[in-house]
């Protein structure tokens, strides 16, 4: 009896993941904004917008004041480190206005889906249930349009949205030495566990900090999927998930190949680190 592992050559897929750069992949980052001028981002940020209140509704407008908190810049930096040729587009949905955050998230998500982004990084979520059905409709719309959503699970293990929805990739955090390592927990709402414990990432003002949280595990998977998508641009969200499942034991695989401990240092490129780990 065959299973899917027998049908897909995971080592060959890993070769593609290793060589993927994210080229041609457009990633939307719904967060606190991004400091596009940060040296670590090297011109990868193509646009910066925000969802701004306008009367009883919201509007989209370009912004140039970067990231006032640092959360979005860290996420963008992690994605860029893993997929250096991916186009990053920032949509600020947190900050500036502390009210209507779930509505801002919904409007930001709607924008990302209608703009036809390949990937959307959602290092955020809400535990409130009022807008769950609206969010779910949008997440399903993204699934059918081929936009892959990657969402951070709640750090306190509470049910949160949109991470709870099955049609996206939800990410929990754990400590991995290799930034591309992850676990796959099949059958659970939050299937992926990626590196999210003290990740060295860019911070506003051209600085770096160490960040911990599921928010920072999420962009690791976004970066990884960007690599996959740059090699296989036609893969659907379902196929990407299946591929992730096939690669689920990658960490062990790397260890079997004699991989050493690989730290994500700001001055070292991830590609170089991974080549080193694989050699």
């Amino acid at each position: 009896m065959f299973n899917i592992d027998d049908l897909i050559d995971t080592s060959r897929v890993w070769e593609h993941v290793r060589h993927g750069t994210g080229k041609g992949v457009r990633v939307a980052i719904l967060d606190t904004g991004v400091e596009a001028t940060h040296p670590a981002l090297e011109g990868s940020v193509v646009s910066c917008h925000e969802v701004a209140p306008q009367g009883r509704t919201f509007t989209y407008r370009p912004v140039s004041d970067g990231d006032l908190v640092g959360h979005g810049t860290a996420c963008a930096g992690i994605i860029h480190q893993l997929a250096p040729e991916a186009e990053l587009h920032s949509m600020r949905v947190i900050g500036r206005s502390s009210s209507g955050t779930v509505e801002q998230l919904i409007h930001g998500l709607r924008w990302a889906i209608r703009e036809g982004f390949d990937l959307v990084n959602l290092s955020l979520g809400t535990v409130q249930k009022q807008q769950v059905s609206v969010l779910q409709e949008l997440v399903d719309e993204a699934y059918f349009k081929g936009t892959i959503l990657i969402a951070a699970a709640n750090n306190s293990r509470q049910v949160s949205y949109p991470a709870q929805f099955a049609s996206l990739i939800a990410v929990d955090n754990q400590s991995f030495k290799d930034p591309l390592s992850f676990h796959f927990r099949a059958g659970q709402p939050v299937e992926i566990v990626a590196n999210g414990i003290y990740v060295y990432a860019p911070s506003p003002g051209g600085k770096y900090r160490w960040f911990t949280g599921t928010s920072f595990a999420c962009p690791h998977i976004t970066g990884l999927v960007a690599r996959v998508r740059s090699v296989f641009p036609k893969l659907t969200p379902f196929q990407i998930k299946t591929l992730m499942w096939c690669l689920r034991s990658n960490r062990d695989g790397l260890q079997e190949r004699g991989a050493g401990e690989v730290a994500l240092e700001p001055e070292a490129s991830v590609d170089a680190a991974i080549r080193q780990s694989a050699s």
Binding site: T32, I94, R96, S98, V127, S156, Q158, Y198, R209, T212
Partner: protein, 255 residues
């Protein structure tokens, strides 16, 4: 009529009501402080704080702060943090925990006031079911210890601690409401007392600031200082009715 013409028995009774009954929230805050201090020791950190939104909705204030160094907590409690440009604000908005190390100028305003430098920082949302009540923060290691970032076990502890803090905050909120109701009841009782005196030709009049400051009613008003602007307005209006003057807004600004 001067303050000393208030019947002393009545002043004593009002004082008892406002000083003893009306200070339960202080005890709750003390207990929250004790909880946080115990949590701070478990977390092996120098400072812990419980931040809650201010009525303006734009800032977080330090409702409770504990620090291994004497005097620092009081300074921290004077600070406020904008929700839209701080990690704590981001945690408050999203309900997602964030730990940061080597933050450098992460909290410049607080660091400038305390004279300390924030090296490691953990902000955990205080959640009550679907509602985010505030943010618990844990800062630095105690003096003399290396600035080892908070590990997964400590982060898990912080989550448990904030569950308890949420229960404490909810309790605090309920007690504040009860104190508000108590203050209203005291004001109503004083009004009835004034009416009775009026029938006997000796209506107390709030004629000057000295009288107002020394009156038990003023104490009741001062006890309301933690209330939101709207609640303070309501209380001020009650006082205006009681004093039969239009100057209650001026009293409110003193609160």
């Amino acid at each position: 009529m001067k303050a000393d013409t208030f019947p002393p028995e009545w002043s004593d009774l009002l004082e008892l009501m406002t000083d003893r009954f009306g200070r339960l929230s202080d005890h709750v805050l003390d207990n929250l402080e004790a909880l946080l201090d115990q949590g701070r020791r478990v977390m092996n950190c120098a400072e812990a704080a419980l931040m809650v939104p201010e009525p303006d909705g734009d800032h977080l204030k330090f409702l409770v702060s504990v620090n291994s160094r004497p005097g620092i907590a009081e300074i921290v409690k004077q600070c406020r943090v904008p929700i839209d440009r701080s990690i704590a604000g981001c945690v408050f908005t999203t309900g997602q925990m964030i730990a940061v190390a080597n933050p450098e100028d992460f909290y410049p305003e607080v660091d400038q006031k305390t004279g300390l430098s924030t090296n490691i920082y953990l902000a955990t949302p205080v959640l009550d079911r679907e509602e985010i009540l505030g943010v618990a923060t844990f800062v630095n290691r105690p003096d003399g210890q290396p600035a080892e970032p908070f590990g997964p076990a400590e982060i898990a502890w912080s989550s448990r601690l904030t569950d308890l803090a949420a229960a404490g905050l909810r309790y605090y909120s309920r007690v504040c409401v009860q104190e508000r109701l108590l203050a209203a009841d005291v004001l109503a009782a004083a009004e009835r007392f004034a009416d009775m005196d009026s029938e006997h030709g000796s209506t107390p009049q709030f004629e000057d600031r000295d009288l107002l400051d020394s009156a038990p009613l003023a104490r009741a008003m001062l006890a309301l200082e933690r209330l939101s602007d709207n609640d303070q307005d309501l209380a001020a209006d009650l006082l205006a009715v009681l004093s039969s003057r239009g100057g209650a807004r001026g009293v409110r600004s003193e609160i």
